[in-house]
Symmetry: C2
Subunit: 232 residues, 2 copies
């Protein structure tokens, strides 16, 4: 376990997709899901459920379904965005490193150290605010992983094989498959957290009116985020 | 700032509704929203926006709208659930203390030290997974507050005055008002985090199949959660 403080952990946790391909001990998984389930939910209903996918039996079958879905989703995204990668670019640019990390992520998907399917047990019709009872718990997964020396990321690429996963794992119809969360010990170095300037994200008393105190600390790195520009 | 570790912070942060009624310094609000906006979002789009409500001008007007909505929502909930409270119960039972804390929360609502409206800038039609791009940031608000010695909680009771808030604060139609987050220095003592047993929330390789490692650490406190039973 690291002794990173709460505030530093919040400020520096970023999505990690390159993992050392070794199993994640059950004792650590236990601490991660325990921390996750301490997150709040409406009226403390706790509609969140986490399905861990082992490396054997149905877990291995689910990993294979997901691996195929992730590889085809990534290939489709590259086609949609017109992305091609040159060898030079791999080493030299942020985009090249991002593409390389994604290729490694989907290629090794089945061997991801730990995979959690975050599920939401529905108790009322779809509403834009319902995620307040599942995604705080998912964020706690990423943060607890960080506290234990791991890293992880969220993905929605299971949607393509949702029906197959439901059948394989016996997930009822009134349960949403909210996120796939992958976890493992980070491999290599990772860049800083990059966001828009705080003044674009924080307002006071009126939409798009930034207060004087919405300033980034020195050394903050920025990005507009969103899907990269298409190539001409 | 406290030196609580990341893991301990995740395990012990709970909803706080009783605040010392003193202003929350802007420097602390800045650190809280900075930490919030480090949370992940799909393709790093950062569709989250936080509107801080000051104690003056339109901020005070918004607080008044919310205070009325919170008081009437609480009164309605008490009627719906058939809750009445005896003086004895106030001191002696968990339910009594919960009812008392809620009464204090809504009575003092306008004087809440800090209030953030968490907003989601829509970029595609409503989908059950979209909250993955706003509620992790909201969870970071609660956790960062805890790191700085504050506490907070989530509520959806702004829904009742959403139209009035939109008009007052100039919030566009394509933006969802996801959560009201209240923050302040905790007043008095607060109980432990209570959840269902871990084995009810965590499965392996199949729905409702709990792995041997899904065990709660010693001393864990439990509750089924959900709306309390109605009185006969």
């Amino acid at each position: 376990m690291t002794d990173v403080t709460l505030l530093e952990g919040l400020e520096t946790t970023r999505s990690i997709r390159r993992y050392v391909l070794e199993p994640l001990p059950e004792a650590d998984l236990n601490r991660i899901v325990f921390a996750a389930t301490r997150a709040p939910s409406g009226t403390n209903r706790q509609p969140f459920r986490f399905i861990s996918l082992s490396h054997e039996g149905k877990g291995a079958e689910a990993r294979k379904l997901l691996g195929e879905a992730f590889r085809s989703s990534w290939a489709q995204k590259c086609r949609d965005e017109g992305w091609e990668i040159s060898l030079d670019e791999r080493a030299d640019s942020r985009r090249g490193r991002m593409l390389q990390a994604m290729e490694q992520y989907v290629t090794n998907f089945e061997r991801t150290p730990a995979i959690l399917l975050a599920c939401f047990k529905r108790y009322r019709p779809l509403n834009h605010a319902e995620g307040a009872s599942i995604f705080p718990a998912c964020q706690n997964v990423l943060l607890a992983a960080r506290a234990l020396g791991y890293g992880g990321c969220f993905s929605g690429w299971h949607f393509q094989v949702e029906d197959e996963l439901r059948e394989l794992l016996g997930i009822p119809e009134d349960v949403e498959l909210s996120l796939t969360i992958t976890l493992g010990r980070p491999q290599g170095s990772h860049g800083p957290v990059r966001r828009r300037p705080l003044a674009e994200l924080v307002y006071e008393d009126a939409w798009e009116s930034s207060p004087s105190w919405a300033v980034d600390p020195p050394g903050t790195r920025f990005t507009r985020g969103g899907p990269p520009e298409k190539q001409a």
